[in-house]
């Protein structure tokens, strides 16, 4: 299976290992990630204002590029996934926005119309629904036995569930199922879907640290030794606060380790 792949800004810079391991693992698991040509930064936050048009265009261009190839578009970063998924849903549901966006697109060198046809998938959804966690477990060479891993979902993958359709927003299981598939022990803790503070850590460092601290304390109290995430910003916020007592790593790193293809 070949997917269009939208890495996003941070996976090309600070989060290279999230990107690299994902590509390696895809190969090992029998699917291919084809990077969308000339993709632009999605903006990292979904433009919520109903009158925001231009800020939604980068997402639309990537979505269209995938659709044109007849491929589903796969993301890794929670923020990119959130933006692409929601903009796509807007293009399906919001006629007014659709018209305005397409008016912009009509001015481009190679105009087209886009109506939300693309299918947006997160890498984890590919593992769950296309590869299958049972098949994944069968391909694991180095089971991470005895590792107590807390899944840190954060907010952007899950909410709003009516659009994201990713998992139960209050009681998600996809990460835990992943952890089981790679042979480790998932640690379920109530704060796994609370927000790490997101972009607020730039200017409101104390607030963000307090939020991250609550999550970490909660995970530690339930016995987690390490947290996994799909989001570079979550990793930054969590690590900054509690990196020493409770490290946070990208889920693809453990995936690569379990598949025996992790490059040192």
């Amino acid at each position: 299976m070949v997917y269009s792949y939208y890495p996003g800004c941070t996976l090309k810079t600070k989060a290279k290992e999230l990107d690299k391991n994902a590509r390696l693992c895809a190969q090992a698991l029998g699917f291919t990630l084809e990077e969308v040509e000339a993709w632009q930064c999605c903006g990292a936050v979904y433009p919520m204002g109903t009158d925001e048009i231009a800020t939604k265009l980068p997402a639309v261009r990537a979505l269209h590029a995938a659709d044109e190839k007849g491929q589903s578009i796969v993301t890794l970063c929670s923020a990119c996934h959130h933006v692409l998924k929601r903009v796509n849903e807007d293009m399906r549901q919001d006629k007014d926005l659709r018209t305005k966006v397409n008016n912009y697109i009509a001015q481009e060198e190679e105009p087209y119309t886009y109506n939300g046809e693309a299918n947006v998938l997160h890498y984890l959804e590919v593992l769950r629904d296309q590869v299958g966690f049972d098949n994944l477990a069968a391909k694991v060479k180095n089971p991470l036995a005895g590792r107590k891993i807390g899944a840190y979902y954060g907010c952007m993958l899950l909410r709003p569930s009516s659009v994201m359709q990713f998992d139960d927003p209050e009681n998600p299981t996809i990460f835990e199922d992943f952890i089981k598939a790679i042979g480790a022990e998932p640690v379920v803790y109530p704060y796994r879907n609370e927000c790490c503070g997101g972009y607020i850590s730039l200017k409101e460092k104390e607030m963000a640290e307090e939020m991250a601290g609550k999550i970490a304390d909660n995970a530690l109290s339930k016995g987690a030794e390490v947290l996994i995430t799909a989001c570079p910003l979550c990793l930054y916020n969590m690590d900054k606060k509690t990196g020493e007592t409770l490290p946070t790593v990208y889920f693809t790193e453990f995936l690569a380790e379990a598949l025996g293809i992790k490059e040192e």
Binding site: K14, A44, T50, T55, R159, E194, Y199, L202
Partner: protein, 130 residues
């Protein structure tokens, strides 16, 4: 002045796409908000201020810089009001005005650290500046 207020009220309703009239004042949005303690006006108050037309209070509130758009309030609201979108609309109303950006490129160098991901700068500029 009152006329301008009515206009702003409708603006916020339009930009947010939220429905303040559906609110039954249960407070679940505020109860779910991780930024609650840092806010001067709380999520449920944004809804009731919009309902009552107290737009100035919303626009001058510090809370618009504290909401992290985590959508916990949107997810759990039993009336489908979408409080986060009201706060976002208020924030947009402010930063769309000349000279009202909350973050300037000049501020950035001293906020940086070696681990800071690009995503953080991209999102902060989207939220704080136009």
């Amino acid at each position: 002045m009152h006329g301008n207020n009515d206009y702003q009220q409708e603006q916020i309703r339009t930009i947010s796409g939220a429905e303040d009239r559906k609110c039954m004042k249960c407070g679940k949005c505020s109860a779910s908000c991780p930024s609650y303690d840092s806010m001067d006006i709380r999520p449920h108050q944004f809804v009731s201020y919009l309902r009552g037309g107290d737009i100035d209070a919303m626009l001058s509130s510090k809370s618009i810089w504290k909401c992290i758009s985590c959508f916990a309030c949107v997810e759990r609201c039993p009336r489908d009001v979408k409080p986060a979108q009201i706060i976002e609309a208020a924030r947009l109303m402010v930063i769309r005005q000349q000279g009202e950006n909350y973050l300037s490129p000049d501020d950035v160098p001293e906020l940086l650290d070696p681990e800071l991901p690009q995503q953080l700068l991209a999102s902060a500029f989207r939220k704080y500046a136009k």
